[in-house]
Chain length 447, copies 2
């Protein structure tokens, strides 16, 4: 801690934020009223009632957010950031038609490092504007995506993609892995960037590359990020091609460990849930994508009951069609009740936990982020709850999950840096992003 | 049409709106680009390309919305407006616990004409800010709600509530009906207000009042607005108390006619859907409320396939927790696909139709509103699609349903009057509404 005594006997810090509520998402789910949060050297050094903070600390920057709740920055545990350039291009189609007839041909023609750079910048701007401070990405050119994230000041887990077909990024699985390892080395000392192997899905990656990924993941101690049981088709195909349901095949390869982030997890048998829970693997739930593509239902409350750590992801904006974790939390709570046939399932607080600390646990960064606690990085989102739509206010957590929208997010800090201030992006040029998006639309529409 | 020739040979009108897109929701689902819409005497008198409009019309007010889509104002086909004062007061509970232990005791203590006035004003402000120009209400003191709506300039169907237990509004069903008839007479000449009988639900209204309502609805030619098949409990109770499922009982009483708006419609047998479709009755779908209360799934695509007219409602903000029809459309499209197990179900255009013209049909006001067509009232919502979150833009309808949020709604007109202008309410004082909401929270929290 770099705080030091000043002439007045006050501890010196970089920034103090006073807020009406501090929703910590700590182990006790503490919600503090009229508290101050002190940031120094990128970290949270104190959280206490505003009077105490004022008596103990001084800072160059003091922000008063009298109608706001501070919450941990959201952790988007599954996305394909650059795909936001294809948002709304092909809707109301099943997964395989959508992929084979629309997304893959466009990717084949257009995906390049430029596409990834501009698409990821657009996505990051959208994520910051909706309160996200870390995202787990899976797409081509992960080096470009990671560089863009680092420059914009947001945390990212760069997905070292592995897939059995060639792309502009790599030609075969060995090249995918080799290039992935180089990306891992490249960002080793970047304190905002971590890496994860990202074998695409059971139907698109064979056993040999999966075994290699498992070995390397153990050696490097990095997570494995993979679509698992997204659709019924995937399961049928798994049985046909490998003689077993995909989860079982992954288990046999040794992939079900605390390193695995299994994304989607629909169409689960009860015994699969029991087995999964024993392995310490993490489930990533993407309710909007699952609904929009009619992929199936993830039995989220059952996974919670089994003790499985579930985090939330938006999936790509081409199948969502946004990168809004507030909306994803609301869908999680709503759909969770409907699927469980129980209105007490997936309460607001659980949804908030899934959108924050659970994502950090899945990505192995929960020592650093995911909750507002002294010693953690200052990854913070402020939501203005004074709008008509969040009044009257009986419970801040209820209003955040069930009533607030992304435009009520006014400030975002990541690692102590202010990325959004009174709704204005501090590290990205929004007009340039819009003009880039327009250019890509014009190109892609010519296909 | 009151347009007339001016000195320059141009037709004179009250207002011209030029917009990047006009999403008409007419029979052909026309979406026009760079068009002008001309308003005179509260009605749409022309829609044509902007150049043609400029050559033919002049107006005192001309509004240029270069990044916006004009769509028909939303029709919220089921709400309990004043309940927004109880938003977020009790979440994550089953319907009957929520009603019996939270909502009903608070209603018993607090519901009064003042509560209704201030709660309905709050709800109307929220509805206007999210693009709604007509709502179908069911609550106590419908005279107060209707007067508030008329003064604020929004269309409302006042629900003449009938329920088998006493309230601050009436003591027994005969008094409910008598007072309802008086409200019907009171607003007969108000061109923004219509009325509908609103018998609460099969479990809360007996056969005698339902028969009386049927007779009066036929005589007065007004709709009947009722919760029907909201939960499995309701159906079980119907079988126990009346020997048949509620839909069958209502059919036997003669209530299944084109006058009926049956709200919720979950847990339906296929033969019930067939029977319902033959009667011309309307279904009102409230996906967010159904999910949040774990009430069950309305098989929306099946109803569409059977030719049933389905409209959308938010339900009250106490069980939603907002009055946002954009969000309700998105949930409808998303949940519709998941429930139908078909990603092509409930496409964006169908959801938009349900949120606009289908609501007008259900309420019997489709000659007046529900689509942007010459001769209809100027009930119009403008959405700014230039925000980062709705770029790039391949299809305006996709962006409206899947990507836009309520804060992108910038302008609203109802009957030609501008109710929202650059996000500013024109007929309601937002600061006063917030201060009223705070007072009610303080009172209700003391219970």
């Amino acid at each position: 801690m770099t705080t030091k005594n000043s002439a007045q006997g006050l501890l010196q810090a970089d920034e103090i934020i006073h807020a009406r509520w501090v929703v910590t998402v700590d182990r006790q789910h503490n919600v503090h009223e009229s508290h101050g949060l002190v940031i120094d050297d990128g970290r949270i050094v104190a959280i206490d009632d505003s009077t105490t903070i004022q008596e103990q600390y001084q800072a160059r920057k003091i922000t008063h957010l009298k109608d706001h709740a501070l919450i941990p920055g959201f952790i988007n545990a599954h996305t394909h950031a650059a795909m936001c350039l294809m948002r709304g291009l092909a809707d109301d189609l099943p997964l395989m038609t959508w992929l084979q007839e629309h997304i893959w041909p466009i990717e084949h023609k257009w995906v390049s490092s430029d596409f990834i750079r501009q698409g990821t910048e657009h996505a990051i701007a959208e994520m910051i504007r909706s309160g996200t401070t870390a995202f787990n990405d899976m797409y081509f050119f992960p080096d470009v995506a990671a560089a863009v994230a680092s420059a914009a000041g947001i945390r990212a887990t760069a997905g070292l993609i592995v897939i059995d077909f060639p792309s502009a990024w790599a030609g075969d699985w060995q090249e995918y892995i080799d290039k992935g390892l180089a990306v891992h080395d490249q960002f080793r000392s970047d304190n905002l960037i971590t890496t994860a192997f990202a074998p695409h899905a059971p139907y698109s990656v064979g056993n040999e590359p999966l075994e290699k990924v498992r070995i390397l993941s153990d050696e490097l101690e990095i997570p494995i990020h993979m679509h698992v049981h997204e659709t019924h088709d995937e399961i049928d195909q798994g049985i046909k091609n490998y003689g077993s349901r995909p989860l079982r095949r992954l288990d046999e390869i040794g992939l079900l460990t605390p390193n695995l982030l299994a994304v989607h997890m629909t169409h689960l048998h009860d015994e699969e849930i029991v087995r999964f829970s024993k392995t310490g693997a993490h489930a990533i739930h993407c309710p909007q994508s699952n609904m929009k593509l009619a992929s199936g239902f993830c039995p989220a409350q059952k996974l919670v009951d089994a003790g499985i750590n579930i985090a939330l992801g938006t999936d790509g904006a081409a199948s969502n069609n946004d990168l809004d974790m507030l909306a994803e939390m609301q869908y999680t709570a709503m759909l969770g009740k409907a699927v469980a046939d129980d209105a007490t399932a997936l309460p607001a607080e659980t949804a908030l936990t899934m959108a924050t600390i659970n994502g950090a646990k899945a990505l192995g960064i929960n020592d650093i982020t995911g909750s507002l606690e002294v010693g953690k990085a200052a990854d913070i989102t402020a939501i203005d709850l004074s709008e008509l739509e969040t009044q009257p206010l009986y419970s801040p957590v209820s209003q955040i999950v069930y009533a607030a929208d992304r435009r009520q997010i006014t400030h975002v800090w990541c690692n102590g840096n202010n990325l959004l201030k009174n709704r204005i992006l501090q590290t990205l040029d929004i007009e340039k992003l819009k003009s880039n998006a327009l250019s890509w639309r014009q190109k892609i529409n010519m296909l």
